[in-house]
């Protein structure tokens, strides 16, 4: 039986490709893209204000509402702003450590640092957010540590979201940058040195331009993961709304509006991915 099947496939590349791809493509195109399409369609529906019934017609009302109502504009702006802030913060934190790992550390230290940076990725996301929630509480560890200096921590709020998101996704930034820097041959840096460039010049004119696509690759993750997160805001900033919170809150009562708001991060991410691809980031994913 197995033998006969093997003979059937032999010398028939199209049949081979077809049978390899049928499962994955069926799953991702019909299952995943299909459900994204359903989401998109639902975003044009509306809800009868009185009966609460969903009207399956076509209208731009939900999108108009998102643009017209200032609260929604603020929420979208705040979410994208925090995602951008966390991304920049992570890049600033990741570049030095990635550089040290790739170019200065001994092989042993390098191996240890890779493990040290990746290790937190294995512990629960929720546990990490929860740890910050505990630390940022009024009588938590942050205030305790800052008290002798006469200052207090950020407490709960938008800046706490920025801090925690930066914390959560930092490894996703470090690893691609580290891998990108590893690809830069040391001889290139030595050549720059020999030609009289100071370290600052080498960093600015050789290392950063070559590492930039890797930084963009890392930023895809930090940005996207922050954009959709609603758990972190609900734990460390209960009084401010982010896109995820609004979508979640509307899901039962106004699915069309929730769907329309969920389309916002999709559009933002598609634009982001297109720009990232132009910058060569996909080579570093």
């Amino acid at each position: 039986m197995g033998r006969r099947l093997a003979d059937l496939f032999h010398g028939r590349p199209r049949l081979q490709v077809g049978s390899l791809l049928a499962g994955p493509i069926g799953w991702l195109v019909i299952g995943y893209l299909g459900s994204l399409a359903v989401l998109l369609i639902a975003s044009f529906w509306s809800v009868n204000a009185l009966s609460g019934e969903t009207i399956k017609g076509f209208s731009f009302d939900n999108y108009k509402e998102l643009v017209d109502v200032p609260v929604y504009r603020d929420v979208a702006g705040r979410t994208i702003g925090i995602a951008a802030a966390a991304t920049v913060t992570d890049a600033l934190l990741a570049i030095p450590i990635a550089f040290y790992m790739a170019k200065l550390a001994s092989p042993r230290a390098k191996a240890l640092l890779v493990v040290a940076v990746l290790m937190p990725l294995w512990s629960f996301y929720l546990v990490k957010v929860y740890a910050w929630r505990t630390m940022l509480s009024a009588d938590g560890a942050v205030n305790w540590a800052l008290d002798p200096l006469g200052i207090s921590g950020p407490g709960y709020g938008t800046s706490a979201v920025w801090l925690v998101e930066s914390y959560l996704w930092l490894p996703y930034m470090v690893i691609p940058i580290y891998a990108g820097l590893e690809r830069i041959p040391n001889s290139l840096l030595n050549a720059s040195d020999d030609l009289g460039a100071k370290p600052g010049t080498t960093i600015r004119r050789i290392i950063l331009p070559l590492a930039f696509p890797a930084i963009v690759a890392g930023s895809i993750f930090t940005f996207s993961l922050t954009l959709g997160d609603y758990i972190t805001p609900s734990l460390v900033s209960p009084d401010t709304q982010f896109i995820g919170n609004v979508v979640k809150a509307n899901i039962t009562n106004n699915l069309p509006l929730a769907s329309a708001f969920a389309v916002v991060p999709i559009i933002v991410m598609i634009i982001y991915l297109l720009i990232a691809r132009r910058l060569g980031a996909f080579e570093h994913l």
Binding site: G2, A6, D7, H10, V17, L20, L21, P24, I25, W27, G31, Y32, L33, G34, S35, L39, P96, I97, Y100, L104, P107, A111, V114, A116, V117, L118, M119, P120, L121, W122, S123, F124, L126, V127, K128, Y130, A131, T134, M135, G140, Y167, P171, Y178, E182, R183, N190, S192, D193, P199, G228, D229, Y230, I231, I243, L255, S259, A262, I266, M269, L285
Partner: protein, 281 residues
Amino acid sequence: MRLSPLWTNLLRGAVGVTLAFIYIPLVVIFLYAFNGGPGLGWPPSDFTTQWFGDAIRNQGAQDALITSLKVGAAATVVALLLGTLASFAVARHQFFGRETISFLVILPIALPGIVTGIALSNTFTQVFGISLGLFTVVVAHATFCIVLVYNNVIARLRRVSANFEEASADLGAHTWQTFRYVTMPNVQTALVAGALLAFALSFDEIIVTTFTLGAGDETLPIWIFSNLFRPNQVPIVNVVAVLTVLISIIPVYFAHRLTREEGAAGAPTAGGAVAAETPAP
């Protein structure tokens, strides 16, 4: 590049600060697990190991753990199958739309979890009329886990020349024999690494899970989330948190060993798409 001692030390300092930033919250949560005092004030006031026993005996946490293991295992099996098939097609064949496959595979993880979550739950309930439950979570998890297997296996296939498979065929082996004796030994560590990542991601996932899980079921992250706001459960949550961190050392250890044996295998990144192949140290 020759950095002055001052700059080298500054850089070392920055590395130290970043590592402290990464590890302080984990240490804090570790200490809280032994907190004998009431509330969550810092520093913990009393030392006790009482909560560990309570946590291990906690029925809700036990059930949630079992649900998580089931979901993780099933999602991993599906992801292994689909991810491997797709990676073989892309790495070993030429066909129209080949470039699109990687994009398609990455999409479920690149789009925010909340988008994937509501899109899938909507489709399950409204289009297919399937009520939410373990099956729907497994489907959802498998969808975003495919990329982890795919990235690991395809990276391996690109390094292993197709010539070996052709040679095997020339020597008279049929398709299965070639697969069994030539292809499999070359990719099996990549499969293990991909499976490990897929399982870990599924085990940790909460957002997509929230939207696709039935009302009666709880995975471990969902259990933790629903107990965070119950003051008398908080000590147990602390312990469960610590236990998950400790248990996570096991896959880290295995992934690290795989990486070493292979020279360069899948780096253990939960996002997976990140640097599926980090250069060997």
